[in-house]
Subunit: 344 residues, 2 copies
């Protein structure tokens, strides 16, 4: 083991001293500023290595008014979608020397406000946020008055802030048309209830697809689960027990999809022979399932690209009106979709 002792509070002053130069010169070497002789550079670099010196970040932040840190506010990293997004964001910010502060708001409005305030007081250089309470007056006010470069992720908020939006409407529309083309006339959709988030848009693409396929929407086929955590098993089972049961199911990813697959299995129905299935979002297990589950997917790598590009530009000082990028979901057709079953 090389140096197991504590690098007790060593500062640039120690480096300068050991190198036999002034504090200013040491700083110039560290910051790769011009006007340093080769000899000085070498002496300082040797001293740095010898001491194992690393600049004190707090002092740098204070002096430079920049923390090289980006604050990230998510409702919950335990949501795989956000976890992957976070990873992508970190991956792209790292090469620029930024680290990320991550805070989960767990959908609590006061907490979201508090987190944003803390981010500001901690001098974040930029913010990447996906607050759960996008319609809350106070959260909205807090977001609108953020004095740092910010990009809103996946939230349609009424604020003049850069944003990256995930758009399912055209995807769902195309999907419904696609299923109609396979002969499906009864396509059900199962959604979770999202408090404080606009739910209307989710059915928009569905209705458009129906209209374009010249089919009539049966409102009973649009199922909103009573709570965000309630099981879809019963809801789907009920749907499948109808005499005019749907021949295709459009369900939200991960949990609801799982419940749905279980409900289908429990009634000994087969996919896609008896019922076709499509997932909103592409959870890891969808591709591996037998048969593989068709999905509507948002490209999270692209989302991370766009979000960091917007943020980095602002942090670089770029001015101008708010920009918004909308990412449309791709349809990944897999084995879970087939022609509608013949009437029996």
């Amino acid at each position: 083991m090389p140096r197991a002792s504590k690098p007790k509070n060593l500062s640039i002053r120690d480096v300068a001293e050991l190198a036999g130069v002034s504090l200013g010169s040491a700083s110039r070497v560290i910051n790769k500023v011009a006007n340093v002789s080769e000899g000085t550079r070498e002496k300082v670099e040797r001293a740095i290595k010898q001491l194992g010196y690393r600049p004190n970040h707090a002092a740098q932040s204070l002096r430079l008014r920049s923390s090289r840190t980006v604050g990230c506010l998510l409702t919950d990293v335990a949501n795989p979608l956000y976890a992957k997004l976070y990873r992508g964001l970190e991956e792209r910010l790292r090469p620029h020397g930024y680290m990320m502060l991550l805070a989960n708001s767990l959908n609590q409005a006061e907490r979201e406000i508090e987190i944003l305030s803390t981010f500001v007081s901690r001098g974040m250089d930029g913010l990447l946020i996906a607050p759960g309470n996008e319609r809350d007056r106070e959260v909205l006010a807090a977001v609108r008055s953020l004095p740092v470069p910010t990009v809103i992720l996946d939230r349609d908020m009424d604020s003049p802030t850069d944003s990256v939006l995930f758009e399912h409407v055209p995807g769902v529309k195309n999907l419904v048309q696609y299923l109609a083309g396979l002969g499906h006339k009864r396509i059900a959709m199962v959604l979770s209830q999202s408090p404080n988030r606009p739910i209307r848009r989710r059915t928009e693409g569905y209705r458009m697809g129906y209209k374009l396929a010249k089919l009539e929407v049966n409102e009973e086929f649009i199922v909103h689960l009573p709570s965000a955590t309630s099981s879809a098993f019963e809801a789907v089972s009920t749907l499948l027990r109808r005499t005019d049961r749907p021949t295709a199911l459009l369900v939200m990813g991960t949990t609801i999809l799982n419940d749905t697959l279980n409900a289908i299995g429990a009634q000994r129905l087969r996919i896609p022979d008896d019922v076709s299935v499509v997932s909103f979002g592409d959870p890891d297990f969808a591709a591996g399932h037998v048969p593989a589950i068709s999905s509507l997917r948002i490209d999270l790598e692209k989302a991370a690209d766009e979000a960091t590009a917007l943020l980095l530009a602002r942090m670089r000082g770029e001015e101008g009106p708010p920009k918004s990028v909308t990412l449309v979901s791709d349809f990944i057709p897999r084995g879970s979709c087939g022609p509608a079953p013949k009437k029996t």
Copy 2:
């Protein structure tokens, strides 16, 4: 909207000025130090509110040599286990005023070293780490020489550092005995390959259980998948096609479990009639599956409790030899386990 203008660089000096008191008094009010008259306190508090002042964190950190920040190094938050753990850690650190810097190492050794170094240079008050390369010489050296309070999570590293360990050995041992009690004589185990991590221990409990049940281990029933990402579908299918196919399957959670369930379904075998299934780790879908999948679970809330308790104590300045807490997995029996099928 209240104050949409930028709170342009306002400092404690502005507060003092507006309140008509000295800078020192303002500081005393903010820090709730004794020796402040009621009048002064009020004036300062009013000024603070009026200006929307929040102390500059970098200056505080520099002065106090404390960042009120904890660095968290994980291999990957997109692993649901870690995502939940992170949430639990954050939840417990927040009330103490700590925020968390989260960095994913993606299992890269140099990156883990770099992250640790950055954490130190950024003056983290404490560290919570689960490096992927627990056997790497350099990573180990970096961890051993960390000059800040640190708790190692779920990694058995040769370092005099506080740690919270997850222990499956007794759990697996009991589990094998339990299954043997149900008449199972051929219990297979499917594990992923984890590079740089000791794999030996994983089979330890398994062998102990076999021995206690007076059964002989068939080495072909211990399956290590060739890579961490390879599908278990084929491996499990092969296992199930044997004439002496296992009557019980012990598989790692999430992905491998999914592949396993698919493989079982594809061969039209039924759980638990034809084959019993137990998961290492308790992914969200296990409980909702039909039938519900029995699991070996680590209580992540408890893990977060222990880890933060250790860290907070050290950050408070507590001295003493390294402490280690070991959490043993609980067995959650569910419908996926039944008596071994009668010979047919």
